[in-house]
Assembly symmetry: C2
Homo-oligomer: 275 residues x 2
Amino acid sequence: MIKTVAIQGVKGSFHHIVSQQFFDNDVKAMECLTFDGVVEALINGDCDAAIMALENSIAGSIIPNYALIDNRNLHIVGEHYLDIQHNFMALKNQSIADIKEVYSHPMALLQCKEFFKQHPHIKLIEDKDTAEVAQRISTHKLKGVGAIASVMAADIFELDILAHSIQTIKHNETRFAIVKRTNSEIVEAETNKASLKFEANHKRGSLAAILNVMSDCKLNLTKIQSLPIIETPWKYAFFVDVTFEDFSDFKKAKSLTEIMADNFKVLGEYKNAKL
Amino acid sequence: MIKTVAIQGVKGSFHHIVSQQFFDNDVKAMECLTFDGVVEALINGDCDAAIMALENSIAGSIIPNYALIDNRNLHIVGEHYLDIQHNFMALKNQSIADIKEVYSHPMALLQCKEFFKQHPHIKLIEDKDTAEVAQRISTHKLKGVGAIASVMAADIFELDILAHSIQTIKHNETRFAIVKRTNSEIVEAETNKASLKFEANHKRGSLAAILNVMSDCKLNLTKIQSLPIIETPWKYAFFVDVTFEDFSDFKKAKSLTEIMADNFKVLGEYKNAKL
């Protein structure tokens, strides 16, 4: 039974939205400053699960989070997709003309650059988070200051949204993993996706041979990402996500890949959130 | 003839070091605030080439830079590897005990977190760049303030290095691309690496079939990265780097992949920097 879920950021953050959408709204969000903090909370047993962004369609994979899951031997027990929408918000009863500066995460500022070009009187200032700025504006009643955050953050901190969806690229789908200390008991009939990690060398054909086996076992590839292994030149780690219809097909592919690749590891077996 | 090279950051930055190591020391570095600025300078003809980080062993691919090269139809004409070493520096004649705060890029602060845990009297403050802080300390003679930057930055801005290589992970190899508006005339005998982009769907076997062809043509895979194409569910773009001994093998693989994959594109053909 999931009661407390660790999130990166404060309430109203995108990780918080995911925790509410994936679990029941009744789960308690445990706010952590960093992803390291999220993982510590999970390992120490301070929470039952954690939410971690894995990749987004603009920036690609968030490799440090893959590394945390891998190095700390956590288990991906589910996934959730969220279309990140940035909204410009401030204390109530102000217009865009009243706002002198906006504080936000560098990535959010970058993604909303075109919008602020139309409002050159607003100074952009880098901050460490998105929703946390909304909270600060609310707590300290900061007039003339704007935040870029989610609709949920505006609701929670009682701010007015001055402009909706101000990001340049209108769809930025982000994929989040739901992570636990140990894998849940797997219901094979409901499990149709897996995240794998293995190593192979760069010699021609070694990755192709492994992908052939997966394809022969009727697995579809939905993600592949190589990462050089520093200490071992010419050897690469691969993070691969596969979907399948029949869990027995996956089991067969798993036993074969285990033999063909080095350091084969299942990071998680779960239900595909995209159907 | 390369005279001016656009770099992201100021002199003493890692991009500057790459421009000096890859070209003759006589090339002029053109300082740009952002990668967008680097690309604009190149397209406008304000410089002859540009340096852009592509991936590093901690964070993986820098997808926005791949997107810039792809979308603006630039050409990768070379690559260069640099082991990023972070050094703690300040105005001369100060010790670590004298330093009250250190300003740097969030990623640099994160990578040096363990070092600063041993010096809890130093406050960590996020800034937009690494070398630019070194420059600021030097220009304004800021006492009690530290920067995290390269040895070259310490030299240029005449700062003392208080501690060398303070990053937790001792090797963070970063791969940089040397980019031009058009491809140089290719000397086939000296060209043994290429960066490719193509699209394929997630159906089982479609990527494996393409990798099989590459392997049959004696190509080695040194990098692969999938990226979902938002507007087209279940279709993926792949960025792939390959090495080969004989350019004619690559040409054969190129013509076959062009037929098998959608929107096949060569981002660059160049000399492998790792031998």
